[in-house]
């Protein structure tokens, strides 16, 4: 892109690591000041959650500025969408946030349903809610395990994965796959709940809550954990809104914004649940918010399983999906934040444009703001607390 092209912007390393607006008074530097160190964290690094590359500018161990380099996992999902029919594109969205693939599928199916102006039958909606909430728990468990691992606690990872296994088993029993589930179809669900689905969910809920207490015993009051997370990576509500940060990161800053409540989709208006919020917007609050969200998810699952209505699971959708000309933006509350799909239809069987608003990508922007002036160890903690999945950042 040349200099005269529209959209051209000068972008240099020094630009992204400006320090003049920071509270680092460079005036009384002493002769003992070490020279700045530029450290490449990633793309191969144990705690960048995949292939994120963060260029850190350091003064000793203090972070002066960061620059994120992304795109190592780019697979062109949005472009693929333009070359597939609406139904065919469904399995691809599972592969963006592969930790919470059910939510991805839900968002896409709902967006297309909105475009087609159909609504999934109540039973399908309830099944969808149960699965997405299970998926939220699974995603938060992966987050908790890796976040704790980044901060040095090895063990919670294995406990989390043990409990996540139960969720994945439910997924496998329901739709035949554990990770990239492809559980929902446009217009409802294709799979009827299997025999014992309700019991499995109830059993999981009963077993999970004591396990959650165990995680908390390991971490919540642990003085090392508290010290490592309290006051680290603070984002105040104004910054959150300015940066477009959503999900638990936003709620930890004290903003009570949850799309399940703010713009109820599916059957969420039927359920009674709290939206946990934090006070300080630091890493510890984000931890507490997510832990509480898991509890609330269990609550939703219990209600949904108890009130699971009978009836069809698929709305009347033509075999060949040809939405009318138009465009739609639909967003849901994915485990990581607002997951939006913007679909432009030209009336053919294939979307003209699919644009995904991934929560990880937007939340990652806040990294620089959060880590300036902190130490290297905090960068790792903050990347962990943002709960990014590089498949979704790069798409």
């Amino acid at each position: 892109m040349g200099e005269n092209q529209p959209g051209y912007r000068e972008w240099t390393m020094s630009d992204s690591t400006r320090t003049d607006y920071l509270d680092l008074d460079t005036k009384d530097e002493t002769f003992l000041d070490a020279t700045e160190l530029v450290l490449n964290m990633g793309p191969q690094h144990p705690s960048t959650h995949g292939v994120l590359r963060v260029i850190l500018k350091l003064d000793g161990e203090k972070v002066l500025g960061t620059e994120c380099v992304i795109g190592y996992l780019h697979r062109g999902v949005e472009k693929i969408g333009e070359n597939r029919t609406y139904a065919m594109f469904n399995p691809y969205v599972d592969r963006m946030d592969y930790v919470a693939s059910v939510s991805n599928g839900l968002g896409y199916c709902e967006a297309v349903e909105k475009l087609l102006n159909v609504e999934a039958p109540p039973r399908a909606q309830y099944i969808r809610v149960i699965l997405t909430e299970l998926c939220r728990i699974a995603s938060h468990q992966v987050w908790l395990g890796t976040h704790a691992l980044d901060i040095g606690a090895l063990t919670p990872l294995f406990y989390c994965f043990r409990d996540r296994e139960e969720i994945l088993k439910i997924f496998e029993k329901y739709c035949g796959a554990r990770l990239t589930t492809h559980a929902f179809r446009i217009g409802g669900c294709i799979y009827e709940a299997y025999d014992g689905f309700e019991q499995d969910c109830q059993k999981f809920c009963d077993a999970f809550l004591p396990k959650l207490d165990e995680y908390e015993e390991l971490l919540t009051t642990n003085r090392i954990w508290v010290r490592r997370t309290k006051g680290v990576g603070i984002l105040n509500p104004e910054d959150c809104i300015a940066l477009g940060v959503t999900g638990p990161v936003l709620r930890a800053a004290g903003v009570k914004w949850d799309l399940r409540r703010a713009q109820p989709y599916e059957a969420y208006k039927d359920f009674d649940f709290e939206i946990p919020t934090g006070l300080n917007g630091d890493t510890y609050d984000r931890y507490l918010v997510r832990i509480e969200e898991m509890r609330q998810s269990v609550r939703i699952i219990r209600q949904a399983v108890e009130g699971l209505p009978q009836g069809p699971i698929m709305a009347k959708v033509p075999k060949v999906i040809k939405p009318p000309v138009g465009e739609i933006y639909h967003s849901i509350e994915a485990p990581k934040g607002e997951l939006g799909y913007f679909i432009v239809s030209d009336g053919s069987t294939q979307p003209y444009r699919v644009r995904v608003r991934p929560p990880s990508f937007v939340n990652l922007q806040a990294l620089d703001k959060m880590v300036r002036g902190l130490l290297v160890a905090d960068v790792v903690a903050v990347i962990g607390t943002l709960d990014i999945v590089l498949g979704e950042v790069d798409r």
């Binding site: 008074d25 009384d28 530097e29 002493t30 002769f31 003992l32 070490a34 020279t35």
Partner: protein, 172 residues
């Protein structure tokens, strides 16, 4: 403790000490020089052991080799080394330096020659008695006879610590 192969160890340590001392001033890389200095200090600790002063040897290792040199290396490693390596190793005062060194060497030789009689020629058993309570002797001397100098020295160190903090800290 019965000494074993005393002569061998003496010459071994002497060669080690002198060799690494020469390396300290001839090495261009300051890190290598500092490492050579550590070897010298360790060899000196060996000498103290041979002189039946185990406590002094232990302190030599703990403080000089283990503590001070670690911090020394710490600082050197952060300095931009490439520039140092490119610089001339000897500056213009080398002539004066040689004269001063020769003078010092002559003085030491003179002292050794005139005071030769006071040096023991063999290890006599009296020293060995000291070995056991070497630590105690030093303690008594330090906190009895030399109490005031000791306290003054520690005060000096305290001032140095405060000074270092003032210099290193941007804001106090």
């Amino acid at each position: 403790m019965i000494p074993v192969a005393t002569t061998f160890f003496f010459y071994f340590l002497a060669v080690l000490a002198i060799g690494s001392a020469i390396a300290v001033i001839t090495q261009r890389n300051p890190v290598h020089a500092a490492l050579a200095l550590i070897v010298t200090l360790l060899a000196l600790a060996g000498f103290y052991l041979m002189l039946y002063a185990p406590f002094v040897a232990g302190v030599q290792i703990v403080l000089y080799a283990g503590g001070i040199m670690v911090l020394f290396l710490f600082v050197i490693m952060l300095v931009n080394l490439e520039q140092n390596i490119r610089e001339y190793q000897f500056n213009k005062q080398w002539l004066v330096g040689t004269i001063v060194a020769l003078a010092l060497g002559g003085l030491l030789l003179f002292v050794y020659r005139t005071g030769r009689g006071t040096f023991p020629t063999v290890f006599y058993q009296g020293y060995r008695g000291l070995e056991g309570d070497n630590t105690q002797q030093i303690g008594l001397a330090l906190y009895g006879q030399y109490m005031l100098p000791f306290e003054i020295a520690s005060l000096l160190l305290l001032v140095a610590i405060v000074g270092a903090v003032v210099m290193a800290k941007k804001r106090i």
